[in-house]
C-alpha cells in the first residue's frame, strides 16, 4: 500500500505542476490585458499587474465595433448549430436505419471524402460562389452547414446503429414512416450526441477564421475573429488592448466550456467510440 501511495503522490505532483503550466498562459493573457503599456515593456515582467487598468477593456470595446462583431458571429454560429444538428442527424438516419441500394457505395464515398484536405476544395468553391455572385455575403458560410459534414454523419450513424431496432420496428408496425421515426424516436434518444455536435458546431463557427477571411470583405459583416485580426492593425503594438480583445473573444468559449463540459467530453467519447 505504501508503494502505491508514493506513486500516487508523485503523479499528483506532476499533474499539479503541469496544470499550473497549462493555466499560466491564460493568466498571462488576463494579466497583460490589465497592465499599462509601460508595465508590459518592463523587464523582468510582472505576474500580477502593479495597478489594474480595467479601463483597457472599455477602450478596447470602443476602439472597434466588437458588439457588431459579436452579433454577426452569434448569427453565423446559430446557423451552424441548427444546420449541423438537424441535417447531419437526418442524413445519418438514412445511412443507419434505411435499407437502399447503393448505400454501401455512398457510405464509402462519405468516408473517402474525410481524407480530402479542405484546401483542395477551397479555391474552386470560391470560384463557384463568386460565379453565383455570393462572395461578400454570408451564404458561402451558411449553405455548407446545411449540406452535412462527413465526420458528424459518421459519428451519428455509429450512434444510431446502437439504438435498439425494436423501438422503431414497433412504430413501423403502427404505420409510422421514417420521417416520423426520425423526429419522434431517434432524435429524442440521441439528445446527448446532438448536444455534443451542437457545442462543436458552435465552437467551430465561433473560431472560424478562414471562411470569413475569404468571403467577407465589408466591415459590417466582420466576425469576431476577423475583427480581432484587423484590430491589430489599428492598435499596432498596444498589447494590453490586443490581449483585452483576445480575452473578449475567448471568454465566451471558456464559459461555454464550463457550462457544457459534459457535452464536449461526450463528443470526444463518441469520436473514440467510432474507432476500433
Amino acid at each position: 500500500m505504501k508503494k502505491r501511495s508514493a506513486r500516487d503522490t508523485l503523479i499528483f505532483m506532476l499533474l499539479s505542476a503541469g496544470s499550473l503550466l497549462f493555466l499560466l498562459p491564460l493568466w498571462w493573457m488576463i494579466a497583460t490585458s490589465l497592465k499599462s503599456p509601460q508595465e508590459i515593456a518592463q523587464y523582468p515582467p510582472t505576474f500580477i499587474p502593479n495597478t489594474f487598468h480595467f479601463e483597457n477593456y472599455i477602450h478596447t470595446w470602443q476602439a472597434a465595433p466588437f458588439t457588431l462583431y459579436a452579433f454577426n458571429t452569434l448569427m453565423l454560429a446559430a446557423f451552424a448549430v441548427a444546420g449541423s444538428v438537424l441535417v447531419n442527424s437526418f442524413i445519418a438516419y438514412g445511412f443507419a436505419r434505411i435499407a437502399f441500394r447503393g448505400k454501401k457505395f455512398w457510405f464509402s464515398v462519405l468516408l473517402a471524402t474525410m481524407m480530402i484536405p479542405g484546401f483542395v476544395t477551397l479555391i474552386p468553391q470560391y470560384v463557384l460562389f463568386s460565379k453565383l455572385h455570393l462572395v461578400g455575403t454570408y451564404y458561402p458560410l451558411i449553405i455548407p452547414q446545411f449540406l452535412g459534414s462527413a465526420f458528424y454523419i459518421f459519428m451519428l450513424r455509429q450512434f444510431y446503429l446502437s439504438i435498439p431496432r425494436e423501438l422503431s420496428e414497433a412504430a413501423k408496425i403502427d404505420g409510422a414512416n421514417h420521417l416520423y421515426i426520425w423526429a419522434r424516436i431517434v432524435i429524442p434518444l440521441s439528445k446527448p450526441a446532438l448536444a455534443a455536435i451542437a457545442v462543436f458546431a458552435f465552437n467551430g463557427a465561433w473560431n472560424d477564421f478562414l471562411g470569413p477571411l475569404l468571403y467577407v470583405n465589408d466591415e459590417v459583416l466582420y466576425t469576431l475573429q476577423i475583427g480581432l485580426q484587423s484590430f491589430r492593425g489599428s492598435v499596432q503594438t498596444q498589447w494590453n488592448y490586443l490581449m483585452a480583445g483576445s480575452v473578449i473573444v475567448l471568454l465566451p468559449v471558456i464559459v461555454l466550456f464550463f457550462l457544457f463540459q459534459k457535452y464536449f467530453i461526450e463528443g470526444m467519447n463518441l469520436t473514440a467510440g467510432t474507432k476500433g
Binding site: F12, P44, L110, P124, L128, L179, N207
Partner: protein
C-alpha cells in the same frame, strides 16, 4: 442488413414487396439527399473544375487558356518557394504529429489513475484544446516575446537563455509546435476514453503472471489502444497539412515570417490564389497537395496492418 419491409411481409406477393422496397429506397435517398447535393455541388464538381483549371492560366475574371502541364512544370522546376513551403509543412507535420501523439498518450495515462482531484485535472488539461483562433495566436505572440514573454522568463529561471522564437527563422516552427502542444488535451480525452475501455481482467491476470508495469504497458495497453492511436495519427496528419492560420496571423498578414520560415504550403497557395489571382497555379498546387496527402495516408493505412490490433478481428 435486411429491409424492414421484407421482415414485415415475408410472404406478401412479390409485386407488393417490391413496391414497399421501392418506397424504402426512395426514402433512403431522400434522407441522404442533403449530403449528396453537397457532395456533387461543393465537393466533386469544384474538384473536377479545379483539376481542369490546374492545366490553365485561369485568373477568375478574364482568361482560362489551356497551358498543359505548364503550372506543374513551373512548380517543380522553377519555383523555389514551392519547395520551401512544402519543406516547412513537412517539417511541421513530422514533429507535430509524434510530439502531440506521445504527449496526449502520456497525459491520458496519468489522468487515468484514481487520484484526488482527477476531474479537476482533466478539465484543466482539456480547456486549452477548445480554444483556438486569432485570440490564441495573439496570446502566443505575447508569450513568445523574446525579452518580456512568459516562455523565456520561465526558461530564464532554470538558466536557459530562450531563443528569439518568432523572429528567428530557426525557431519559428518549433514555436508553432510548442503552441500546438498546449492543446494536447483534445487527443488526451480520446485516449482516456479508449483506456477506460481496456478490460481490467487483462491487467490483473498479467500481474498474477508477474508482468512488470513496463511490460503491461507495452503488451496490453498499447495494443488495446492502437486503433485510437491510428485514428489520431491519421487525422492529425491530414490536419497538419492544413496548417495555414498560424502562418497567416503570426506573420504580417501572410508574409511568411522571417526568411519565409512560416510560409506553409497552404499559405503560399492562398497568396497565389487570392493575392496574385494565379488561380490555375494555385489549383495545381492544391492537386499536388491532395496527391501527397493521399499517398502518405495510404502508406499510413498499409503500415497500420503491422501495428494496429483490432480486438475481435478486423472489420
Amino acid at each position: 442488413m435486411k429491409t424492414p419491409a421484407r421482415t414485415l411481409t415475408p410472404t406478401a406477393p412479390k409485386k407488393k414487396r417490391s413496391k414497399l422496397a421501392r418506397r424504402e429506397e426512395l426514402q433512403g435517398y431522400l434522407f441522404i439527399s442533403p449530403w449528396l447535393i453537397g457532395l456533387f455541388g461543393i465537393t466533386l464538381f469544384p474538384m473536377l473544375f479545379s483539376l481542369y483549371g490546374s492545366f490553365t492560366n485561369y485568373d477568375v475574371t478574364s482568361r482560362m487558356d489551356f497551358i498543359g502541364v505548364g503550372n506543374y512544370m513551373r512548380m517543380f522546376t522553377e519555383d523555389p518557394l514551392f519547395w520551401k513551403s512544402l519543406y516547412n509543412t513537412l517539417y511541421y507535420v513530422a514533429f507535430m504529429v509524434p510530439l502531440t501523439t506521445i504527449g496526449s498518450i502520456l497525459l491520458a495515462l496519468m489522468l487515468n489513475e484514481r487520484i484526488v482531484g482527477m476531474r479537476f485535472f482533466r478539465t484543466i488539461y482539456y480547456l486549452p484544446a477548445v480554444l483556438s483562433g486569432v485570440g490564441v495566436y495573439f496570446l502566443w505572440i505575447q508569450l513568445l516575446n523574446p525579452s518580456t514573454g512568459l516562455i523565456n522568463t520561465m526558461l530564464g529561471w532554470v538558466g536557459i537563455p530562450g531563443p528569439a522564437w518568432l523572429s528567428d527563422p530557426m525557431w519559428t516552427k518549433p514555436a508553432i509546435i510548442l503552441m500546438k502542444m498546449w492543446s494536447v488535451g483534445g487527443g488526451m480525452l480520446l485516449y482516456l476514453a479508449s483506456l477506460q475501455g481496456v478490460p481490467s481482467q487483462l491487467y490483473e491476470s498479467a500481474k498474477l503472471d508477474g508482468a512488470s508495469a513496463f511490460r503491461r504497458f507495452f503488451h496490453i495497453t498499447l495494443p488495446m489502444i492502437s486503433p485510437v492511436i491510428f485514428f489520431d495519427v491519421v487525422t492529425s496528419f491530414i490536419g497538419g497539412f492544413q496548417i495555414f492560420q498560424e502562418g497567416y496571423v503570426m506573420t504580417d498578414s501572410g508574409s511568411g515570417g522571417p526568411m519565409g520560415s512560416l510560409l506553409f504550403y497552404n499559405l503560399y497557395m492562398w497568396n497565389q490564389a487570392f493575392q496574385l489571382f494565379d488561380m490555375g497555379y494555385a489549383m495545381a498546387m492544391a492537386w499536388v497537395l491532395f496527391v501527397i496527402v493521399l499517398i502518405l495516408t495510404l502508406i499510413n493505412l498499409r503500415m497500420s496492418k503491422r501495428w494496429v490490433y483490432y480486438e475481435g478481428g478486423e472489420d
